[in-house]
Amino acid sequence: MHSAVAHHFESLEKQGQAQRLGMWLFLATEVLLFTALFAAYGVYRYLYTEAFAQASRGLETWLGGVNTFVLVTSSFTVAMGLDAIVKGKNRRTALLFGLSILMGCVFMVLKGIEYRHHFLHAELPGQFYGGPIAGSGGSMFFALYFLITGLHAFHVVVGMTVLGVIGARAWMGKYDAQYHVPVELAGLYWHLVDLIWIFVFPLIYLI
């Protein structure tokens, strides 16, 4: 029996199955966590349609667009990382994960540039709002903007950390073609971060 099998599992395969299901359940909680913010976005976009459209037009769409390309590509490299370990090439997995982390950094830097821009123009949530939009719509947009992108950025940082740890362990040869469930799970988490951004991008920047 493989050394990674815990005492209460009959086989490595069964354990992997349990870990995957556990990860999916965790991802479901993440989805619901974001959903509360998306629901608030939906309600306030309905109540302040014009203000939201105006505020959205004021954003740097190219930053959001480039970030989408970056994140989608990082998801691709993570998937290729899993493919590498399936073939037993653990160092290639580590390198691909490193590349993904690098793209995560690019994402965060672009996000930072954007945030700096908003701070300089006082496009801030609630009582701190000093932007041009009259009424409550503008401050509400930026409250949701910072909540949604902030929570997402937090997940990007957590995801980069996870990729870093798992990538390092892959480099050290902890995983092989038979046993690589942690690589798979780290990938799942990163793909979810990507998946959520795929919805954030149109909601915040495009419509």
Binding site: R20, L27, V31, F38, P202
Partner: protein, 137 residues
């Protein structure tokens, strides 16, 4: 569906080609939705279009990058179930705000009668008639 079928076996052989195709599709769809936004399809159509494209992209990520395409039933069921509740949590509060008596929405919401919004935006006291009598019969 049997959960005893191995998901590990499904990832045992290479999916590199599949990943590449999905990545290309995701990039193309991102470019498409970005491009369409510059055309300014307004109103509900624009929202539906953008979210439709996002849903296609999300489905591609979930099915292929996240391997739901060849995973056992329970894992798929988890995501599908969570999406039911995503729909629920978004739809019912929205339905509430959409069907409310207008004055029960926040005071300067765009759904409120225009004269009351004007009064609030101009920082003047609301018109006297607005207070005791509802806007609609």
């Amino acid at each position: 569906m049997s959960e005893h079928s191995s998901a590990a076996a499904a990832t045992a052989h290479s999916h590199a080609g599949r990943y590449l195709v999905v990545w290309a599709a995701l990039m193309a769809l991102t470019a498409l939705t970005w491009g369409l936004s510059t055309v300014h399809v307004t109103g509900f159509g624009g929202v539906a279009l953008a979210l439709g494209i996002a849903t296609v992209k999300g489905t591609l990520v979930a099915l292929f990058f996240m391997h739901l395409w060849d995973q056992p039933g329970p894992n798929r069921l988890v995501l599908v179930t969570s999406l039911i509740f995503v729909a629920l949590l978004i739809a019912l509060p929205l339905l509430d705000n959409a069907t409310r008596f207008p004055l029960a929405n926040p005071p300067d919401a765009e759904t409120a009668p225009q004269r009351i919004r004007d009064a609030i935006l101009n920082d003047a006291p609301p018109p006297a008639t607005a207070h005791p009598a509802p806007a609609h019969p």
